[in-house]
């Protein structure tokens, strides 16, 4: 302990009690004090983060669903290998025979159905057509096998894990996208994006390619409106949030500066996905702040004609830190985990 007013620093260690002399010193004005935070405080911070994240997971986390269709032993690797790879990568996997596949697909609504090279069925074409109404189809087959229909993806054997995951994830996104078909309330800008790139995935693919070429980061922000709010006040949402893409665009443009060149907002049910080219991890957090303030500052009553308080959350993923492809990033946006930036 030094004299009060002395500019030397004393460190009060974690734990233990202080003598009266030390207490007097650290309480007196001018005493330079460094008090180390207890390690228990650091652990508490970690605990809190886990708790808050896991709570969101409990509510939001759902797994992409894959249906494996297999009619028995063949020349290819056992379907169990595919099942193992997908399961360890966060998929919920169901296996079935082609006899039961259609019925199961109707009830489960899988994102993707992976079929083994099927040659036994007389009604093969009809079977594929029917199954494709319920899921994106991948056919696993040897390279010599000719895919019966053009739109189907093919996995060639010997199976490569990376190829399997890439194709599956791309099918999941396609499937998810179809489910969240863009409503007719899109802004012109958003429609332009859809028209020109067909879907967010291809728009994002383009952005990623550009980012890779120029060494940029790019981000995707997902503004998710609270589900309860959406369900209870869906009509208001449709009327009021019609203006949200416009407001978002204005906000993004005002923030734009050197960070953004190609911002657009897309309305999908209770999600707004915003592509943010040249936007880094840090910049997207700043944007989340702006977005949060904008939503709070917006007169929703005027827009929807009723007194409402919008609630939800702002999420983000950034290329390349949190995903290397559009499939990776969108899968994280739709299935988590991704960074929750701000509560609305």
């Amino acid at each position: 302990v030094t004299e009060p007013g002395d500019k030397r620093v004393i460190a009060v260690s974690q734990g233990g009690s202080l003598t009266k002399e030390t207490q007097d010193f650290v309480q007196s004005p001018g005493a330079a004090l460094v008090k180390h935070d207890s390690k228990l405080v650091r652990r508490g911070l970690d605990e809190l983060s886990n708790l808050l994240d896991s709570q969101w997971w409990l509510i939001e986390r759902h797994y992409p669903l894959a249906l494996l269709v297999d009619d028995g032993p063949g020349i290819l690797e056992p379907i169990a290998i595919i099942e193992q790879v997908l399961t360890t990568n966060g998929y919920e996997v169901h296996s079935t025979s082609s006899e039961q596949a259609i019925e199961l697909a109707r009830s489960l609504h899988p994102h993707v159905a992976i079929l083994r090279q099927i040659t036994k069925r007389p009604d093969e074409m009809q079977f594929h057509t029917e199954l494709s109404k319920h899921a994106q189809i991948i056919i696993s087959a040897t390279e010599e096998f000719e895919i019966p229909f053009e739109p189907f993806d093919m996995l060639s054997f010997p199976l490569e894990e990376r190829e399997l995951l890439k194709k599956t994830s791309s099918c999941v996104c396609e499937s998810e996208w179809k489910r969240r078909q863009v409503a007719g309330v899109l802004s012109n800008t958003a429609n332009r994006i859809i028209d020109s790139a067909h879907n967010v995935a291809s728009a994002l693919d383009n952005e990623i390619a550009r980012s890779e070429r120029y060494g940029y980061e790019c981000s995707v922000v997902n503004l998710q409106v609270d589900q309860n709010w959406h369900e209870q006040r869906g009509d208001l949402l449709l009327r009021g949030l019609r203006d949200l893409p416009r407001l978002l665009n204005e906000q993004i443009k005002s923030f734009c500066g050197s960070y953004l060149v190609f911002p657009d907002a897309v309305y999908r049910e209770n999600h707004f996905t915003i592509l943010m080219p040249q936007t880094s991890l840090i910049a997207v957090e700043r944007f989340a702040d702006k977005l949060h303030d904008m939503i709070h500052g917006t007169n929703w009553e005027q827009l929807v004609g009723s007194s409402v308080k919008l609630s939800g959350a702002i999420w983000a993923v950034t290329y390349p830190q949190e995903g290397a492809s559009a499939g990776d990033l969108l899968e994280r946006i739709w299935f988590g985990p991704l960074r929750r930036l701000r509560e609305i």
Binding site: D37, V41, G44, L45
Partner: protein, 259 residues
């Protein structure tokens, strides 16, 4: 009524008057900043106690069980250096956590309360006994001790002690101001310098407190509380689950060893 006889004030008197006004403004600022800092410290200290009482003790319990597990493993494999080191580390961690949480009164004051009367008293004391307003070294030392006690009493919400401190100083001879314009001017100028230095120290101390992990934790816990969640209890429950797992694991290891 005696009229002003018309003599203009001397330059040093004019200077003294202007410096006194400057000092008065600075003193007001200083008192508010001291109050703010003391309040922040009080809030953090009360929060830390509450956090340690609810969550910290759970960590200490968990660390104790983990230390026992590590010790059993080390005893089981006396030649395994990694196991020995792990046991030592676990023991050290358990000791540290215990030291952080030992002696926490279960009925400790949960929230820092700074009622207006306390704030008023604190302001009055800071204005009267602040060490940076001392006129000489012995006065400064006395003020230093009183201010330290006042800070402690404020943090603990002890109104009686605050009143006693104020009374003690006001009845002491140091509270009588000195005379003489030149000497007074020098004293005031020095006080101004002291107050300015203290103001920048307060700003720095505030910054450090607000950057501390404890402040971050408190802010996040407060945010969750506002949303109606008792997050400290949830955290304690989460650690409680890990304690149960560790207890089961300890039991298993102990049974395997005795078999």
């Amino acid at each position: 009524m005696v009229a002003n006889i018309g003599l203009p004030p001397k330059p040093e008197e004019q200077e003294l008057s202007s410096k006194r006004q400057e000092l008065k403004d600075l003193e007001n600022e200083l008192v508010e900043h001291e109050l703010h800092l003391a309040t922040l410290k009080g809030e953090l200290a009360a929060f830390e106690k509450e956090y340690l009482r609810i969550v910290g003790v759970k960590y200490a319990e968990l660390d104790e069980i983990e230390a026992q597990i590590a010790e059993l493993r080390a005893r089981n494999e006396p030649r395994n250096l990694e196991a020995q080191a792990a046991a030592q580390n676990a023991h050290r961690r358990a000791e540290e956590s215990r030291a952080n949480t030992v002696g926490l009164a279960p009925n400790a004051r949960r929230h820092f309360s700074n009622f207006p009367v306390l704030r008023g008293l604190y302001r009055h004391i800071a204005r009267t006994v602040h060490p940076d307003l001392a006129t000489n070294e012995s006065d400064r030392a006395k003020r230093q001790a009183l201010m330290a006690e006042a800070n402690r009493a404020y943090e603990e919400g002890d109104e009686t002690r605050l009143k006693a401190i104020l009374q003690e100083y006001e009845s002491s001879p140091e509270s009588v101001p000195g005379e003489g314009t030149a000497a007074e001017l020098i004293r005031v100028i020095r006080k101004i310098a002291q107050v300015k230095t203290r103001l920048s120290e307060i700003a720095e101390e505030n910054r450090k407190l607000m950057e501390s992990e404890l402040f971050v934790l408190k802010t996040r816990v407060d945010e969750e509380n506002k949303r109606g969640r008792d997050i400290l209890k949830e955290m304690a429950a989460a650690v409680g689950l890990r304690i149960s797992e560790a207890q089961a694991s300890l039991k298993k290891i102990a049974e395997a060893q005795s078999a």
